[in-house]
């Protein structure tokens, strides 16, 4: 399969680009909701429009009413989300939750997917425990209780947790904290007794929660996949979420780079356009090179995932690590090359810097995924 978008994908990219530039624009969404002090950090109307466009169901099977497409297509939408810094629950709901639910029972899919498709429902995932992503060790416990389970533990960095109708929680049903086996994924409704969330606004104006599960009672039908067999479901969900975050990161990087290159062509100092200075030209060109390479890694990983390849997991981490460093370079260079104006809230480049920081941390930062590449390569 060639490493570029086919005709159908190019058409999707065109419509996503147009839609996001119009409806998802920074002033219309990110700044608007931020300045209003919106508790969700995104607009529900826009999320419904995602539904009308069909974006919400990209990773939902056709039999379940979705488009039955893959990670390449989800990534196309995410790249445009990244470029416009569009706040939406797409990554947590339509990528992470949709990938997990695809492995769930008919009952679970019937319960949750219709609301996802229309953009009426928002989903979140609760994986991290502590300030760093480390899903290899999960302490949150789910103990057998009658026909169901009782969940207890604490989760952090639950993006959109406060707005979510359902939260997918990874919990331990057996074994020790770091065992590969013994995990189970649960679909936890927002109003479950014993579930409490402490919402915190993040640097990029997105909203996450610290979540406490205090004996949350769930029926057996809340289990996604097999009891004790959650690791496989979790890994599939993480692969999709990580490459999705990487695709969004490429959008952030390209958005910041394009803005910066434009600025180099407008700003004059010393009687010259600053883009005439070789010191800046070379840095901009190096950045271009890194962004192109990172984007290639993202597309490769998406294609490998969609093909069910054994190499997908490695390439997902390569892509997430590469994008992590590259998008970070793009926003740092962006602010520096904008000079003083780059430090102002009025100018958008700083918003890219904030988004990059939060997005890169989500589902493992560049260091986490670099370590993973070393381990998957056997050293």
């Amino acid at each position: 399969m060639p490493l570029y978008h086919d005709d159908d994908q190019a058409m999707l990219a065109d419509s996503a680009r147009q839609f996001m530039a119009e409806e998802g624009a920074i002033n219309k969404q990110l700044r608007h909701w931020r300045d209003k002090g919106c508790k969700d950090g995104f607009g529900h109307e826009l999320w419904k429009q995602f539904g009308e466009m069909g974006f919400t169901g990209i990773l939902v099977a056709e039999d379940d009413g979705g488009l039955g497409l893959g990670n390449v297509e989800a990534g196309i939408v995410l790249e445009e989300i990244g470029r416009n810094l569009t706040p939406s629950p797409f990554l947590t709901s339509s990528v992470l939750a949709a990938t997990a639910l695809a492995q769930g029972s008919d009952d679970l899919r019937g319960r949750y997917l219709p609301g996802l498709l229309t953009g009426d429902s928002v989903f979140a995932v609760a994986i991290d425990e502590g300030a760093k992503h480390h899903p290899e060790a999960i302490k949150t416990k789910a103990e057998k209780s009658g026909n169901g389970f009782k969940l207890s533990g604490k989760k952090d960095f639950v993006i959109h947790g406060a707005s979510a109708d359902m939260i997918i929680v990874a919990a331990r049903t057996s074994g020790g904290d770091s065992d590969a086996d013994g995990l189970t994924l649960f679909a936890v409704p927002k109003d479950a007794a014993g579930l409490s969330q402490d919402a915190v606004k993040l640097v990029d104006s997105s909203v996450a929660t610290h979540m406490t599960l205090d004996g949350v009672a769930l029926a057996g039908d809340a289990v996604i996949g097999e009891v004790d067999g959650g690791r496989a479901v979790l890994n599939r969900m993480l692969n999709a979420g990580r490459i999705g975050a990487a695709a969004e990161g490429i959008g952030v990087a390209r958005g910041a780079m394009d803005m910066t290159v434009d600025y180099l062509k407008q700003r004059k100092q010393f009687g010259k356009l600053i883009g005439e200075f070789q010191a800046l030209q070379h840095r901009a060109s190096h950045l271009y090179s890194e962004v192109e390479i990172a984007r290639a890694a993202v597309i490769k990983a998406q294609q490998l995932l969609d093909a069910g390849s054994q190499k997908a997991e490695l390439m997902v981490s390569v892509a997430k690590a590469k994008v992590g460093r590259t998008a970070n370079l793009a926003v740092r260079e962006g602010v520096q090359m904008h000079g003083g104006i780059g430090m102002t809230d009025e100018y958008d480049i700083g918003l890219y810097m904030k988004r990059d920081r939060a997005l890169s941390e989500f589902l493992g930062d560049a260091n986490y995924h670099t370590e993973r590449v070393a381990q998957l390569n056997g050293y």
């Binding site: 060639p2 490493l3 570029y4 290159v261 180099l264 062509k265 010259k272 356009l273 883009g275 005439e276 070789q278 030209q281 070379h282 901009a284 060109s285 190096h286 271009y288 090179s289 890194e290 192109e292 390479i293 990172a294 290639a296 890694a297 597309i299 490769k300 490695l314 390439m315 390569v318 892509a319 690590a321 590469k322 460093r325 995924h369 670099t370 370590e371 590449v373 070393a374 390569n377 056997g378 050293y379």
Partner: protein, 387 residues
């Protein structure tokens, strides 16, 4: 797709039958590479049989038309062949500047007669070519070159000097930039072809910091070149040269295939037995970059086949690929420790680690320096002012 599946299984069977086991071993040193030409000898029977099988099948230049010695494969078939060769680790049957550089230029600018003659000679490994571009006073600023061809009616008389002529002392013919109009900088250069045995041509190897001499100085002292031995148009050789530099940059960037930039961390651990934590981290960061760059190489080849790649993209590939390769050798030296410092010991194959490390420093100089690549990206891709 069914046709391609069939092509893949045929190719697999053909490789199985024709590529000897010895030719599936990684290339260890220069002797393992077959360059062809009048002075060439085969290192082994396996090398000879693999080369001859490929010539007969057109697989020394699989994407060239059959009339010119190729196999006439389309983009998808050529990719399958590359994948299948890579899968079994098959060595390239023939390495040659004729394949990488002159051939593409002739395919685009050559006359039918030139294509039939020169391309077939290249495909069959009969003539080994070298490239005469740089001069002592014209490196990055190549267009200021001075080697002059004086028009004598039916021939030119060429005088001047080239430098960094790769393997000039082993080459049979040279493709060479010669000034034919001193009044016109860009449109005063002709892309000439001539035999290195022509009277007045001499070469002198240059000893490098690696202790090796892959490059020569090449001198022209009243060299007679017949007036039909040029490519494109007289005085328009710069167009050919620019086109060809694109191919050179692709080649140096390693986008031409292979896994030169594959991950090295695991191999370094096997080699050294242990890795210091910070070295391990640096290796892991390198591996991320190398594996990502490989994806870029694949994407670049795919895009170039269908005209989707930016025409200046080879400059980006060259820049990133060569910088990466230099970093790779820095890390290999660090992982090897004092052993990798040995200059001529048997254990290091005569100082391979250190000599190879030093060799890579030229990667970001030859064929356009990294700084020139960044200039070109600034100008042609980012469209920055005054670039």
């Amino acid at each position: 797709m069914a046709d391609l599946d069939a092509f893949r299984s045929e190719t697999r069977a053909w490789l199985e039958a024709n590529c000897p086991a010895e030719m599936r071993e990684p290339v260890r040193d220069e002797d393992d590479v077959y360059w062809g030409g009048r002075k060439a000898t085969f290192k082994s029977a396996a090398q000879k049989s693999w080369f001859e099988a490929c010539v007969a099948k057109g697989y020394t230049v699989p994407a060239w038309p059959k009339a010119y010695g190729g196999a006439g494969l389309d983009a998808a078939e050529a990719k399958i062949l590359r994948e299948e060769m890579s899968r079994i680790g098959a060595r390239p049957p023939l390495s040659s500047f004729g394949i990488w550089m002159l051939g593409p230029a002739l395919l685009k600018f050559g006359t039918e007669e030139q294509k039939v003659k020169y391309l077939n000679e290249i495909a069959r490994g009969e003539i080994r070519w070298c490239q005469g571009y740089s001069e002592p006073g014209a490196g990055s600023d190549l267009v200021s070159m001075q080697t002059f061809g004086d028009d004598q009616g039916d021939h030119w008389v060429v005088n001047g000097q080239k430098i960094w002529t790769s393997y000039a002392d082993a080459a049979d013919w040279i493709f060479c930039l010669v000034r034919t109009d001193k009044t016109n900088k860009y449109q005063g250069i002709t892309f000439m072809l001539f035999d290195m045995e022509t009277p007045g041509v001499s070469t002198k190897p240059i000893l490098l910091i690696s202790g090796n001499s892959p490059f020569c100085e090449t001198f022209f002292d009243d060299v007679k070149v017949p007036k039909d031995q040029f490519v494109g148009e007289i005085n328009r050789g710069w167009d050919v040269a620019k086109y060809l530099l694109g191919h050179e940059r692709e080649m140096i960037s390693g986008a031409g295939g292979g896994d030169r930039n594959s991950a090295i961390g695991a191999a370094m651990l096997r080699h050294s037995g242990t890795l210091d934590p910070i070295l391990r981290a640096e290796l892991a960061m390198f591996d991320v970059d190398a594996l990502a760059y490989n994806c870029m190489g694949e994407r670049f080849l795919d895009e170039i086949k269908v005209g989707k790649a930016h025409p200046a993209q080879p400059n980006m590939m060259k820049y990133a690929g060569t910088e990466l390769n230099k970093r790779r050798h820095e890390l290999m030296m660090a992982a090897g420790g004092s052993r990798s410092l040995e200059w001529d010991s048997e254990e290091t194959g005569g100082g391979k680690p250190s000599r190879n490390w030093l060799r890579t420093k030229a990667n970001s100089i030859e064929g356009g320096t990294s700084e020139v690549m960044l200039n070109v990206i600034s100008k042609r891709i980012l469209d920055l002012p005054g670039a």
